[in-house]
């Protein structure tokens, strides 16, 4: 385990694009992983991760500009694709690799998926492996969990994450708890994925952020992808994980374009992504808000600030290593999320950082979240619901004055 991290750390030091002293922070923290109590660094992917590619790719493909498709000069040219295609690529590679991997959901097969993530898979793998379910979320989620109990590895697609509320009981009680209540006999290697978040005027019921509802369920992991690179990497890691993983995609990010490597790679489920190293303030974000943060970062840099932007990616558990290192460096934290203020991921993150790193904070943690309202349909109102770049800039300025 340690070898992987050291390789990562070494590669970071080599990379030309990062300006901070990675060795000082990264290796030290990583070496202490095994001693760290309550480490939730769970099951590692198999040996393929040690191919030596992961390290370079994790750092170099990270966007340091808001809209760039980053690829360092050190890696191969790769190929360009959209985020939903990256998800599909990851899914297809895993289905090729392991015959137990299957997909179920509404209109995933013949229709190709309402967001085209499963396009072309049904003709290739057949109707049973890419299963078109009736509209019965509660039951087909339960069915997937039951199948997983015997060793299959289903991927459940919620056409919109919001529909999975109907399956909450299955996800909470069966998916999350069966491994525990059976004393470890059963593992539930399911992946539950789908688009959520506030889109473009989709209405209240189709603009939900379920990560805040699911985060308390013990036994599950939650990750949120935000770039084609991490979408593919997280999809693959989620499928290979022995634990149930909920992969949150965002309706508005499916058409993001990026150049990703040709070689196989996986992202760590529990790892956060350093988007932009900086010195003045740590901005923690995930999913679509990452882009609002990077847009604000442009303005902030022009104003002379040096924000460190971290895409936390892992919503459960939090990557408190990366986060902690950052807090120790900058002493100021701003969380920017799309969840509602009450009981969101930001609320939990604020608590976690306060508990673990409050000695390092020079200012109270500020959390920018969506308003505690059902998402209205009218476009102008919808805009006010979520955090906009201008608000992020203001918050950073206020925080840095303290």
């Amino acid at each position: 385990m340690a070898s992987i991290f050291q390789a990562v750390g070494a590669a970071r030091a080599l990379s030309s694009s990062n300006s901070f002293d990675s060795k000082k922070f990264y290796l030290t923290s990583r070496e202490s992983v095994s001693e760290r109590k309550g480490s939730i660094f769970v099951v590692r992917s198999d040996g393929r991760m040690n191919s030596g590619r992961v390290d370079k790719l994790v750092t170099n493909a990270v966007a340091t500009k808001a809209d760039s498709a980053a690829a360092s000069t050190a890696s191969k040219p790769g190929h360009e694709l959209l985020l939903f295609e990256a998800l599909r690529e990851g899914l297809e590679e895993e289905m090729d690799r392991d015959p137990r991997v299957c997909v179920m959901g509404e209109d995933v097969g013949h229709y190709g998926g309402s967001y085209k993530v499963t396009k072309g898979l049904a003709p290739k793998y057949g109707d049973l492996r890419v299963l078109d379910t009736p509209i019965a979320e509660n039951s087909f989620t339960g069915m997937a969990i039951g199948a997983a109990m015997t060793g299959l590895r289903p991927i459940v697609e919620g056409m919109n994450m919001g529909f999975l509320l109907l399956a909450f009981n299955q996800i909470s009680n069966n998916c999350g708890m069966l491994h525990y209540t059976s004393g470890g006999q059963f593992t539930i290697p399911v992946v539950i994925r789908g688009p959520g978040g506030v889109g473009r005027q989709l209405g209240a019921e189709h603009s939900q952020r379920l990560e805040s509802y699911f985060q308390s369920i013990p036994g599950i992991q939650m990750v949120a992808c935000s770039t084609p690179y991490n979408a593919k990497g997280l999809m693959k890691a989620a499928i290979r994980s022995e634990n149930p993983v909920i992969l949150f995609e965002h309706v508005l990010l499916y058409n993001l374009k990026e150049r990703i490597p040709d070689e196989e790679y996986i992202c760590n489920l529990e790892e956060a992504e350093m988007v932009r190293p900086g010195e003045h303030i740590t901005i923690l974000t995930y999913s679509r808000m990452r882009y609002h943060v990077m847009q604000a970062a442009k303005t902030l840099v022009n104003k002379g600030y040096d924000p460190e932007v971290i895409d936390i990616r892992s919503l459960k558990p939090f990557d408190l290593h990366t986060i902690g290192n950052s807090v120790k460096k900058t002493h100021r934290v701003l969380i920017v999320e799309e969840c509602m203020r009450t009981g969101g991921i930001g609320a939990s993150l604020t608590a976690a950082i306060s508990e673990n790193f409050h000695d390092y904070l020079d200012a109270p943690i500020v959390c920018l979240s969506s308003q505690d309202v059902p998402t209205p349909y009218a476009g102008t109102l919808e805009e006010f619901t979520i955090v906009q770049p201008a608000q992020i800039v203001t918050a950073v300025e206020q925080l840095c004055q303290q």
Partner: protein, 380 residues
């Protein structure tokens, strides 16, 4: 012979529109109210655990004309919504009802505003039938203040409380237990009214439907479950999602009726029959065999899972408006030109409503926080 003195009563159950539409003399020389026309439904009803109603129905020229105008208005509204969506004045999800108008109009003709209707997201036309105005509809679709939900709901969240229309719901199937709740309240309050809970063939496979149906049957609630079977749950054909696509039989111990949903008279007859039944005997299921010309929503072309021939075939053979047009013409109630003029008027009516809706402003920013709770309680 002229309809002038009748126009006000004619217009009452309809959505607001220019009264001039029907204040015109028609070629029929007889008194429209007293004239009885007997029509036959296109196909007989099929019953499950029940004797179906007769397929011969009495109507009047007035009713025929009303049906024509109402359906033409609904059709025009949906087509206009399509254009508005393409010009990005309507955003998000927009599920159109064109092809299914007979269900909305036939049902409305059999009931009163004290009866309740609840449906899913394909709700624009039902809203209109329940007394909603074109202005309220278009304004809501464009997210404006004048919308029926003040612009905060959108296409899938049309409601009209004083018209007995309970929405407008985005999550498939969730409206059916709500519908049974409406019926429960009606029984509780000893009203002699009923609830129509509409759902699609896709939603027919939701467990909550059967849970709700069981309870409705257990307690003899006046609930009529109406499956608007347009044969596709988004991209999935009914036979690929349901082991038994005979939705009118799926109630098992609950009786059911299969109805040609493209025939407004069949719908009216079935709804009238159902209302009488449930007031005495508890729930019933109506399966409306209908069809949507558009795809599932504006983001779905609707042609990847069905052929264009099928769509045009249905349009030619079974279009609800054409059926009424033929009836009107064959009974000499109006001429072709008169019907075309009516359609032109309807188009104008719709266009006027759209321009009015466009003038309506966006909601105030403060509206973001209103109606979360009642009277601002619960705010920190």
């Amino acid at each position: 012979m002229s309809l002038i003195h009748r126009s006000s009563s004619l217009l009452k159950p309809l959505a607001a529109g220019p009264a001039s539409l029907l204040r015109r003399p028609f070629s029929s020389a007889t008194d429209d109210d007293a004239t009885k026309i007997t029509v036959e439904t296109s196909v007989p009803f099929t019953g499950h655990r029940i004797d179906p109603p007769p397929r011969t129905i009495d109507t009047t020229p007035k009713e025929l004309m009303t049906f024509f105008v109402d359906m033409a208005r609904m059709r025009r509204m949906e087509i206009a919504a399509d254009s508005l969506y393409k010009s990005k004045l309507i955003r998000g999800f927009c599920h159109l009802y064109d092809g299914q108008e007979a269900v909305a109009v036939g049902m409305e003709a059999a009931i009163t505003r004290k009866d309740c209707i609840i449906t899913a997201y394909r709700d624009h036309c039902i809203f209109l039938g329940r007394g909603g105005t074109l202005l309220e509809a278009f304004a809501e679709l464009m997210g404006r203040k004048a919308g029926c939900s003040k612009g905060k709901g959108g296409s899938m969240h049309f409601y009209k409380k004083n018209g007995g229309f309970y929405g407008g719901h985005g999550i498939v199937g969730a409206q059916v237990p709500l519908g049974c709740g409406l019926a429960f309240a009606q029984k509780y309050s000893k009203e002699d009214h009923v609830t129509f809970a509409l759902y699609g063939d896709g939603a027919a496979n939701q467990g909550q439907l059967f849970e709700a149906l069981n309870m409705a049957a257990l307690w003899d609630l006046p609930a009529i479950l109406v499956c608007e079977n347009n044969h596709y749950g988004m991209g999935t054909a009914e036979w690929r999602a349901a082991k038994s696509p005979a939705y009118y039989k799926r109630g098992d111990y609950v009786p059911g009726l299969k109805v040609d949903g493209m025939d407004v008279f069949a719908v009216k007859q079935a709804c009238k029959f159902a209302k009488e039944h449930v007031l005495k005997n508890g729930p019933i299921i109506l399966e409306m065999d209908t069809y949507r010309y558009h795809g599932h929503s504006m983001s779905d072309p609707g042609s990847t899972y069905r052929t264009r021939d099928e769509i045009s075939g249905v349009r030619q053979e079974r279009d609800p408006i054409e059926r009424i047009r033929k009836l009107i013409l064959s009974h000499d109630i109006a001429t072709e030109k008169e019907l075309k003029d009516i359609e032109k008027e309807v188009r104008k009516e719709v266009d006027e409503a759209i321009s009015q809706a466009k003038e309506s402003p966006m909601p105030e920013p403060s509206e973001l926080f209103t109606n979360v709770y009642v009277k601002d309680h619960g705010v920190e």
